[in-house]
Structures are given as C-alpha cells and as structure tokens.
Amino acid sequence: MMRNRKSRSYINPYLGGVLLGLTVLAANYISGRGLGASGAMKNAIVASVEAVAPAHAENAAFYKEFNETHTGSPLNSWLVYQMLGVLAGGFLSGVIARRMTWKVEHSPKISSKTRLVAALAGGILFGFGSQLGRGCTSGSALSGMAVLSLGGFLSMMAIFGTAFALAYFVRKLWI
C-alpha cells in the first residue's frame, strides 16, 4: 500500500529515462560532452587543496598533472556549473513533489548509525573508484554508453556487476 502511494508520485521510469537521454543528447549537442558528477567534486577538492596548501599542490604529482591539462580555476568548469544545476533541479523536484524531509533512510533491521557509517564507507569507495575509473555512473557509464565508448560499457558492467555480486552479503542494510 505504502509503496503504491509512493511510486505514484514518481514519474514513469521509461518516461524518466527518455527525458534523461534527451538531457545527455542536449549536453552533447550544446557542449559536445556528456554529463558528469564526480568530476565536479574532484575540481572542488583541487581548488580547496590549492587554497589551503598551495605549496603541496605545486609539488604533489596529481595536482601537477591536473594543472597541465586544465586551465583556469578548477571551480570555473562546465561540470561544476552542471553540478550546481543538479542540486537546484533535485531541490525543485523535491519541493514540487513534497518530498522535502530531513531523514536517514534505512532498513528497519539496522540503526541510523549503521546506515550513516555504511553511507560514508560507500562514498569513500565510490569517490576513489570514480577517479581510478575516470568517471562515475553518469560521466563514464551513462555518457560513455551514449557515445558508444568501450570504456563506458565496461564501466557500466563493472559497476552493476560488482554491486549485484555483493548484494547478497549486505542484504541486511537494505531489506
């Protein structure tokens, strides 16, 4: 019952998918690139490190390489503006659908604290993996698949395959 009421307020998944695809298409048509999420967060970190410890940023290998391939402030980048838009768009949709609540969503079998620790751990893994894999589900898998990139398809299979394989072991977190 609960689920029916909830799912009615979400849009049809196939309609959502078509709209999402059109957004990827628009990004390619306008800017010649796909969507992304983790890249914006990386730029934010590069900017913070450069502000907090400029000496370190000048010497460490990663920042050197980053600055060789990027010009201008890391915050003045396409992905950062796009990510600010995502924040605004998500907020807008939440307000319209009246889903704005402070909440820790978790299975009744675990405590809020367990959920928060798992979320943090998952975030760390995802953050690290997204850098190694040159992009996350949006930047590498979705946008990569849209342009038929081999890397995009591999990324998608690795992400979903691993999550599916591990799902059984962490089922208590979710069901």
Binding site: G17, V24, A26, A37, G85, L87, C136
Partner: protein, 196 residues
C-alpha cells in the same frame, strides 16, 4: 550545426550557463524518477524495484539514438563530441570499487547530490565519503599511477571493436534492453518491495 560550442555558435560563457540548465534538468529528472531514495536505487540488486535499470538503459538508448539521428539529419558532427578513453584495467578495477561503494552506500555521486538536495542525511555522509575517497586517490596518486594509465586502448567505440555499423550495434543494445526490461518487470512481481 552542433556541437554548438565547437562551431563557435555559442560563447564559452554561454556554454557554462547552459551547463547549469542542463544540470537542473538532470537533477530534476533523477529526483522525480526516485533516484533520491537509496532503498529504491539498490532495489535493482534485490529485484524488488528496478527503476534504476529502466531509467538508466532507456536514457542511454535515447541518447544513442538521438546522436545517430542528429548526425543523420546533418544537425550534428559526431566527430567533435567527446569519446571517453578506454584504459582497460583502471576502468575495470575502478568499476569494481564503485560497484562495492554503490551497494554499501546506496547512491552514486549524481544521485547523492539529488538526495542531499531533498534532505537525506545519509546522502550528506555519502558525499563526504566521496570527497575523502577522491582526496585519498589524489594524495596517493604515485601509488596507483601505473594502474591508472595501464592498457590504454584509445578512444575506442563498441561498434568499431565488434566491427559493426553504429546503427546495428545500437539495435542490438535495444534488443538486449527490451529483454532486460521484461525480466525486470517479472522480478518486481516476484520480490516484494519493503516499505520505504
């Protein structure tokens, strides 16, 4: 003719502004499809809610078809769009690590931002985790630089790899997706969704 930025039809500043609007659309669609709920997202791995699979594949296919049709009508020059490079090992290892992060944390970076936008506290922790993870990667970069750059296969496309036309390859993806959608809806009937 697109891409607009490459053909100097819009200025770099307009490009940044449009990035913001594209982001709004992206965020709005993710949230209204239910991607701001971690238990809905991971449902695909337990069979009780396959919205991720449906939205993700419908989205990818719509974009593929759109790009090919835009090119067919002469609206867009596909030689100018960004093709993700393929580094075999880092893509696979990175993907495996992301998969583990996905099933533990219940989000991916884009969806966690949407969830945070509507007040999910676990999403804030997930985002904090992403920042820490990226920071670890940057600081330890020399340790995994070898893996990061190993087996560079170039900007390889699937259809080239399998020696098919891009149209035919997309048709095969569509056929696979249609079968997956059918299985997904069967699974949703079989596995009861928990309340969330």
């Amino acid at each position: 003719m697109g891409p607009l930025i490459v053909n100097d039809i819009i200025s770099p500043n307009t490009n940044m502004l449009l990035a913001f609007f594209i982001g709004i659309a992206f965020g709005f669609i993710l949230e209204s499809s239910g991607f701001s709920s971690s238990r809905k997202l991971v449902g695909v791995f337990y069979g009780y809610d396959t919205v991720v699979l449906k939205v993700f594949f419908t989205g990818a296919i719509t974009a593929m078809l759109g790009l090919l049709f835009f090119s067919l009508f002469g609206w867009m020059d596909l030689t100018y769009i960004y093709i993700n490079p393929t580094y075999l090992w880092s893509t696979l290892v990175g993907g495996v690590i992301m998969g583990a992060g996905f099933i533990l944390g219940g989000f991916c970076p884009g969806t966690s931002v949407c969830a945070a936008a509507i007040g999910k506290i676990d999403a804030f922790l997930f985002i904090a985790g992403i920042f820490i993870g990226i920071f670890i990667f940057m600081e330890g970069y020399p340790l995994w630089e070898g893996l990061y750059k190993a087996e560079f296969l170039g900007y390889l496309k699937m259809n080239k790899y399998f020696n098919l036309s891009s149209g035919l390859f997309v048709l095969l993806v569509i056929a696979a997706a249609v079968v997956m959608f059918w299985i997904a809806e069967k699974a949703e009937k079989k596995f009861k969704a928990p309340e969330y």
